[in-house]
Assembly symmetry: C2
Homo-oligomer: 139 residues x 2
Amino acid sequence: MNAICQRPFRQALDRLRASGLRPTRQRLALAKLLFDGCDRHVTAETLHSEASSANIRVSLATVYNTLHQFTEAGLLREIVVDAGRSYFDTNTSEHHHFFNERNGMLADIPGSDVVLTQLPKPPDGMTIRRVDVIVRVDG
Amino acid sequence: MNAICQRPFRQALDRLRASGLRPTRQRLALAKLLFDGCDRHVTAETLHSEASSANIRVSLATVYNTLHQFTEAGLLREIVVDAGRSYFDTNTSEHHHFFNERNGMLADIPGSDVVLTQLPKPPDGMTIRRVDVIVRVDG
DNA sequence: GTGTTTGCAAAGTGTTTGCAATTTA
DNA sequence: TAAATTGCAAACACTTTGCAAACAC
């Protein structure tokens, strides 16, 4: 783990409690993987295999459930860049993404590096829920 | 078909020829559905069932193949808004989208209604291939 | 005729679900 | 103990593929 990104001890547990999610062994372990280091992007598969590597016994179904529960709780943000695969970002603050379709790598764009000067008026009775900017790169 | 959007006769055929795609019965029929009216957003499923309604006999596999061939040929643009479903847009010019997750409706945002003042510098040796802006709406 | 395209059905991928067993409070 | 959570395997939705038959040139 990168010391630069290290976060307060017990943060994983606290986050679960604050979200009203029972701190089960699986959730706690996944939360530690997700939140105890630098911000990161995961898919269900990558998180599941990372857990396996760390000798954490969690089923893939539970990883999916957990990612969605964390997302609903506001601990994660889901990012759609690829039809057929869901990414989740531990950085829930307003920012956008680079996506390299060749290798599936997703990277944050610092908030201030994309400036939307003008937002369009949404159709009829609709309200804007979120604006996603995906900069697709090659190379 | 909306007369306002009507396009030159035989455009479908011309587009296929220009792209080096053999104008088979299926491709021609799909091209007519796609290009002879207003700009539109389709999924493989919606296009397939539209073809069926019009008594055009095309398999779903061929619809998928055709959508990809048209996309490679630059006749369509693929839009990723939803993990697990691919949308295709007949409008290939630079513009962005509203997406309503509740009902899956996709709508163009007129080009000038989203202004990106500043593009981020892509990582290392990468170049920007495209910028997608998706305004997610509710209501 | 020859190479391309199609359709079908099977396989593939990522994700969700039903339910009994387990765990948490 | 009661309610929530887990794991498994089956089901799912969407998409791709292999290959023989049909088609375009």
